[in-house]
Symmetry: C2
Subunit: 243 residues, 2 copies
Amino acid sequence: MNLILLEPDEIQADGTAVISGKRARHVREVLQAAEGEEIRVGVVNGSTGIATILEDAKQLRLQCNWSGGISPVPRVDLLLAMPRPKVMNRLWPVLASLGVGRILVSNAWKTERSYFDTHVLEPEHIREGLVEGLQQARDTRLPQVSLHKQFKKLVEDQLDGFGPYAARLVAHPGDGVFPREKLAALPAAGRVLLAVGPEGGWTPYELELLGAHGFEAVSWGARTLRTDTACVVLLGLVQSVLG
Amino acid sequence: MNLILLEPDEIQADGTAVISGKRARHVREVLQAAEGEEIRVGVVNGSTGIATILEDAKQLRLQCNWSGGISPVPRVDLLLAMPRPKVMNRLWPVLASLGVGRILVSNAWKTERSYFDTHVLEPEHIREGLVEGLQQARDTRLPQVSLHKQFKKLVEDQLDGFGPYAARLVAHPGDGVFPREKLAALPAAGRVLLAVGPEGGWTPYELELLGAHGFEAVSWGARTLRTDTACVVLLGLVQSVLG
């Protein structure tokens, strides 16, 4: 945690907040900050600032001072075919730390339908994982997450509502290259949608459907990566170009 | 597994091999390949090729045909401050799938010494993790791993023995940028050493020591990433430039 993130309703009118549990433990044991000392804080989807520790009793009472604004929405969104719940669970903090505007979790032919019946997709669980990643990356901007059990409907009818996107990319091992120059030439506010498939890959039908809706196949290289590794590598590449 | 990897001593003089356990299960259940059908195989640190399934009884008997050579040694090595064992354990297959020549696991000021007393660093365990990653990436070239409990000795006396390196980079969140042009301009055989620090980061002394030995601070951007995420993002970037 490089930032202690507070929920909006934790902050009182006088700018104080009381935290306990995991965050308080982190302040005490990792940051080793005590009464009178300052720590970095932020509000979910809000400002960042500095808090003074007023009281370190059973709970930790903070006096917050908001000086930093909220970071802009990251210029990349992720369309992710739902991986095994265990993998999805590990990805929440990682995706939030890398910075994505929106995560569209989708069904796909090679995704098991049962993957959607998991606590890993419950809103509180998602939020907890994302907040962990934001605290790591010192960000307050929470990615928006939506679940889509009908891939075709998502691509044909719903995607345009999330855009507009200046580029749509689909990760597909093999021939594609990474369109560095193209991304670098996008207008400054141009947003990118990156689609990453399930463990067994997209089916030819799915690739065709994505292609018909403007998705360009991209690849990191000759090596076939696991879904979660591919997400991290490709988001890292996209972000390194978009800045 | 996009390639079934065999150990050299599993292959008989007539090119047959017998596999069981995890790999046999993968052939049957995921690839759904049966007697008479062909699957992709490789030998650790050796050729790739095609194997015909001769017999699918309790074990799986294969007839191998080697046609592909061994891939070149990846042009990047990783100097990694030993993370928590659980994280290291998850990283073995990921690092092998991304492709690294050598992994130097090092002590650092903010690494707990007890991290070195773990089964995760036992040779058979490391090999198992790396082989999993190679099978994913369809590679046979096993990264070489060495353990270094003395960071100073490693940097001052031992590193030159692993090189030569055309560039030495140390991941450090903040000011640095990613030296894309510099890496792109390296000679075709030029090798790169990337150093990634412990959870709490390098100490000023360690950064100074690395700096004095030719390491240039690089960063992926303003966001501070977890050690394992930083490894994947930065290796992904380095490999995407070196090809």
